[in-house]
Amino acid sequence: MRKRKALLTTLCVTVLASIALSACGNNNATEQLNPKSEGGRKTLTFWRAGTDAPEKAYWTRVIQEFEASHPGVKVNYSEVPFGNDMETKLNAAYASGTAPDVLSYTLASVAQRANLGQYEPLDAYADKWEGKGDMMESVLNTGMYKDKLYGIGFIPDPRVLLWRKDLFEAAGLDPEKPPANWEELAKDAELLTKKDGNTTVMAGLAIPTANAWTFWQSFVLQNGGKIIDADKNEPLFDSPESIEATNYIVDLVKKGITIPNDSTKANENLFPNGKAAIAYDSPAAYVNTQKDHPELAGKIGVSGPIERKTKATFAGMRLLFMSSQSKQKDLAFDFMQTVMSKEETWNRYKELGTPVVLNSLKEDYIKDKPDMNQAVFDAVSYGEGAAKVTYSSKMYEMISQHLEAAFYNTKTGEQAMKDAAAELRKELPNLITN
């Protein structure tokens, strides 16, 4: 009798717990994810890296218009912070077969996720797409990996030269004349640097001392150097051109023209924080500086990167990818085409300030803000992003660590590059995934 009562009590508790848990399940939210549960309506899932409000407002409008022009289609939009957060979420989604149909993500993901078969090759779709011929060649190439098109670049993030005209004037320099070569850059940076004892309080040139690879890559490319031979998996950053560029940066850091900072930490970014006179930074840094420091309106100059042996700069890129797990690939590409249309590319520039990627919009874009947009357009044209190899993050981590060692006097710039290349060659057998 006692046993029966205990059993009944246990059963009741279990049933109650199950009911309560089921009741607290948000069925509507689950249904939104499940195309089958929407009575024949098509549901497209779209994830984007980034959580900022302006871009959210942009996507909300684009999705509303897409749904209006595609009756019976519902777009489920989701946003995820950049970096490890997105990586973890994507890994879980691909492992469980719940990856989004369309994804807005970074260039650095191309090699790894295309190699794993997670991104769908877009060549068959792009061949039928009229807008392909209008895309800037450099932008289209960013989405190529092993001769296949995996992503369509739509938000470029090139590094341009930014300088504070007010500080130039105060230092006796011509505020309208940015440095034209490496020698002038070093001279101006020294002149603009302000120190309190041995501590730099105003950087003449913003050089990241941690995770410095994007800054470093701009100089290596300008000096005619290359980062890696992707076909042979051969590091090229211990070449004489690369070593010369590295020594140039290391010398500047040792002279104390920068304030120690980490390029991956937005709060340490010197130029938008008003702590640097010159910087290689993104157009977004220019916009943020003007927004946070209204007193600097009209006092910031923008120009293309300094030319040495060749015109070059680092240019990040956000691309649209289609998941290989998507069950509605035609609809997914339809959405991508809408985002890449001439009208939407212009809207994106107007609403978010992102550089245009279509040749047909070049004139209008430059005419709109000649002071800035010519430099940005040029930088997008000849910019180069992260190397498209599956081990790019590890390679850049090694480069940054050895650079940091050189900045803090542990080794010379030349030794840093040779050590980084040797370390990569040693690790490559473990890093290459085919």
Partner: protein, 287 residues
């Protein structure tokens, strides 16, 4: 020679300094929430804001659907805490007071759970939630649908019982004299009656401690809601805080304003249950 009063004064002064050091990050958070971005980024640090910008709070709350985020966090936290108190205390009681075959082996396997980092079990747990049979469009084999992804159940279910909670309760129940059980049995009480009418009323400190730990962990959890939810309607407060962060910029003043409001319920909870919390920590020997 230092008198007893002198020792107390020195001890109190040291404790006060440590308390102020602990309080400093919170104060910095509050004062940062009242500054302009220009002042935060100024090369000259100022602790007291030059202009008290209380407007930051309303600006931060207008950015994003915070009513929804708070509501989601309250629902998820409340359900998780209630269920975890029930299951952990019952399991802890069983391990501490009942004799059954394989008890020690089972308890050892529970302890292993404390040693495995949560990151290692995250993806397998996610797959279990996705393939939960008969839910979210799934068939009996867990295929065809999305299981508990993007639902409150998916946010709650993996956390309603856990190694730490079971261990905590077991340690507490071990302190009770065996004579208590024997007396109850002589009076004819069964195991459930002993648990609910004798042990549970005497367990307020440990339940309060567990409730605080569980509330803090659930309220502050970021990674699990990140991978489990896909729509804004399901976002919790921790995910909501990411809207002040872009790829190149962080709006520190708004982020700190929202963070101040997000930690407020936890501070209030701790103040309300502080007495029991301290008792629970002392009696279980946890430090």
């Amino acid at each position: 020679m230092i008198t007893r009063k002198g020792t107390t004064v020195i001890f109190s002064t040291v404790m006060l300094i440590i308390a102020l050091l602990m309080l400093f990050p919170f104060l910095l958070m509050v004062v940062t929430s009242l500054k302009t971005m220009g002042e935060i980024q100024s090369p000259t640090f100022t602790f007291i804001p030059k202009h008290w910008l209380f407007d930051n709070y309303s600006v931060a709350m207008r950015r994003g659907d915070w009513v929804q985020y708070f509501s989601n966090s309250f629902i998820v936290t409340a359900i998780t805490v209630v269920f975890s108190l029930v299951f952990n205390s019952m399991a802890g009681f069983a391990f501490a007071r009942l004799r059954f075959p394989g008890r020690d082996v089972l308890f050892f396997s529970v302890l292993i759970g404390i040693m495995v980092p949560a990151q290692a079990t995250m993806i397998p747990t996610f797959l279990m939630m996705k393939m939960f049979p008969f839910f979210g469009g799934n068939d009996w084999q867990g295929q065809g649908g999305f299981g508990f992804i993007n639902s409150y159940t998916g946010l709650v279910l993996p956390f309603i019982a856990g190694s730490f909670g079971i261990f905590l309760c077991r340690q507490y129940f071990l302190n009770f004299p065996r004579a208590l059980d024997e007396a109850a049995q002589i009076d004819g009480a069964n195991v459930f009656r002993v648990f609910f009418q004798i042990y549970l009323p005497l367990s307020k400190p440990i339940l309060a401690t567990l409730a605080i730990f569980k509330t803090t962990a659930t309220w502050n959890d970021y990674m699990w809601p990140l991978i489990m939810t896909n729509t804004e309607q399901m976002r919790t407060v921790q995910l909501g805080l990411t809207i002040f962060r872009s790829e190149t910029n962080v709006e520190w003043n708004l982020l700190m304003a929202a963070t101040t409001l997000v930690v407020l319920p936890l501070v209030l909870l701790f103040l309300a249950a502080q007495k029991y919390f301290v008792q629970g920590i002392v009696t279980t020997g946890l430090k």
